[in-house]
Amino acid sequence: MSSLDAMDMTRGITTDTAVAPLASDESVPSGRHWLWRLARYPALTGGLVIFIVLGLLAAFGPLVWKGDTSSVNLLSSLLPPSLAHPMGTDEFGRDVLARFLIGARISLLVGLAVSGFGALIGGAIGVVAGGLDGWRQGVIMRMMDAVLAFPPLILAMSVTVALGVGIVTGSIGVLVGSVPWYARVVRSEVVRLRNTPFVEASKALGASRRRIYLHHIVPGVLPTLVIQAAAAFGYSILALAALGFVGLGAQIPTPEWGAMISDGLQYTLTGQWWIDVFPGLGLLLAATSANLIADGLRNMLDPRGVYARV
């Protein structure tokens, strides 16, 4: 690495969570578990803890707390939180906690799916585009720019409308809007990597193009991709909830958090706050923990990198 890069690394980095020295093996005394390294990143640890708790709730919650989420029981409608119903009941008498837990499953799974597939597809496009030269690269990136011309939520809404409303189509809509971000970020990484000395050396040694890509470029792109996926995870949870809120994502009676908030809108404003507050808190916790993890990963893996906002 050139001396300029070394200077860049030692200069102060203005990221927002606590700045720690670049993670290197010397920070963990030999014999200590690598998890100890997490202690230097309190925000990341906090985010991980919240996320794991939510994940456990989503995975095992519905098995432990068996509430009826679909049938109507008007005798117990709109009950405030109590021991029997820790989050109260909604207008149909359904237990809000039970719906909350299933909503957690939906949100987390969709977030994972959208960011996972987005990273895969966007990353592939980015690697291909970064590997091409001249006008071919330009064409691909122009296509990405065209998709980026739409505010992401608006694009997601129209794709969902076009394909027919539902969670799956809503996820596809959010996915389509997020792919160009990955492509841009990965492409610039690939271009940077292609010009590094070690790739040049590999080429000089006669390595095939395939080997260079598989052994150098793709592993080099992975940290960037992971960080971008973590950032997109929080965004996709909120985006799907927004789609559910306007009636385009999950449909009745699916207990998706955004749809739950929209259902409870009229009741919240007349005093039955529990129907909306809890799903919203769930969204807040899920998205914030994802953002904390993304920030922490960025500090740990690549503090200098430039990331797309999503």
Binding site: D145, F150, P151, V246, I261, S262, G280
Partner: protein, 339 residues
């Protein structure tokens, strides 16, 4: 500068063209049968065929695309079946409401970001608080925030009005000069109406502004930190300029410039957020119109809206890029910028 500008304008046009193709694919080509959406599931096959011919949907795809584009450019944006008005006049009526809300939110976001970014330079506690607060802003669902604010400020504390729209039910809108209730009532001397309009603007604008504010305050803070480490700041201090003057006169203008480019992103956030916020607050703007027409399965509005929002977004980006190039010579003279 001319060369820089033409390059930017050309690439914006290409982007808009690409966006129009995508909008066309999404809204016309993808749905199984857009005609079915219009005539309904119970219509006879003859009706479907007639409507198809009337809408030009039995033409080949390139011809359809050409019709779509030429209609759009001419201003023929279709007819909204659920509302009973041409889309163009519908959008024109509702646009000022959204614009007023957007401008107010923009002011809140930028103003709040500047104030809090400067404040966070003062003490470590303030800095940590601002940082955490802004971080929460990125993860809060905007429609939920709207509800919480309504419950707290309108229901419990009775400080601000509820989701009634732009004015209380018993207040008449001022005569239309700009379409902005605040400016119009100020100019015509209706101060009661002015106050009422402001009261109704506060909560929705705050909700809309929260996410852009969070983003901007982090950006501004990080830029300010960078700038305060620059040598010229130390020189100014050593010449005797007070700490606050140094930050205000030297630090802030330099730190502010990168946030200019961020304002394009802020604009996109405002566009998307307005769809959600207007629904909660019953605000008679374009966003609420889109949601209402979607509920009524009236997709004509959506068709126009996505293409329009793409064009406006690209235009805002272009203006910001040109402004940035005009202000900072390093931008417009950079050679070989990556595609």
């Amino acid at each position: 500068m001319i060369r820089f500008a033409t390059g930017k304008i050309a690439s914006s046009l290409v982007t808009v063209l690409g966006a129009s193709i995508i909008a066309f694919i999404v809204m016309r080509v993808l749905p199984g049968s857009p005609v079915r959406l219009i005539v309904g599931a119970l219509a006879s096959q003859a009706e479907v065929n007639n409507t198809q011919r009337a809408l030009g949907l039995d033409q080949s795809v390139p011809v359809q695309y050409w019709d779509y584009i030429s209609n759009f450019v001419r201003g023929d944006w279709g007819f909204s079946y659920s509302v009973g008005e041409p889309v163009r006049s519908l959008l024109a009526t509702r646009f000022p409401a959204s614009l007023e809300l957007g401008c107010c939110a923009f002011l809140f976001a930028f103003g709040g970001a500047i104030v809090l970014a400067i404040l966070s330079l003062t003490s470590a506690w303030v800095e940590r608080f601002v940082r955490s607060f802004a971080f929460l802003g990125l993860g809060t669902p905007v429609f939920w925030l709207a509800l919480i604010l309504l419950v707290v400020f309108s229901q419990s504390l009775h400080l601000l009005p509820g989701p009634e729209g732009r004015l209380s039910l018993n207040v008449q809108p001022p005569p239309k000069i700009t379409g902005f209730y605040t400016i119009d009532s100020l100019v015509t001397g209706r101060f009661g109406t002015l106050w009422n309009a402001i009261e109704h603007l506060i909560l929705p604008a705050l909700c809309l502004a929260f996410a852009p504010f969070s983003f901007l305050v982090r950006l501004l803070r990080s830029n300010l930190l960078d700038v305060t480490r620059e040598p010229f700041m130390a020189v100014a201090r050593s010449k005797g300029v007070s700490r606050s003057l140094v930050i205000l006169r030297h630090g802030l203008p330099n730190a502010f410039l990168p946030t200019l480019t961020a304002s394009a992103l802020v604009f996109a956030e405002l566009l998307a957020g307005s769809v959600l916020v207007e629904t909660v607050f019953d605000w008679p703007g374009v966003g609420a119109l889109v949601v209402q027409s979607l509920e009524n399965k009236d997709y004509v509005v959506m068709q126009t809206f996505i293409l329009l929002s793409a064009i406006v977004y690209v235009t805002v980006n272009l203006i910001v890029d040109l402004l940035y190039g005009a202000i900072d010579p390093r931008i417009r003279l950079a050679r070989g910028t990556p595609p």
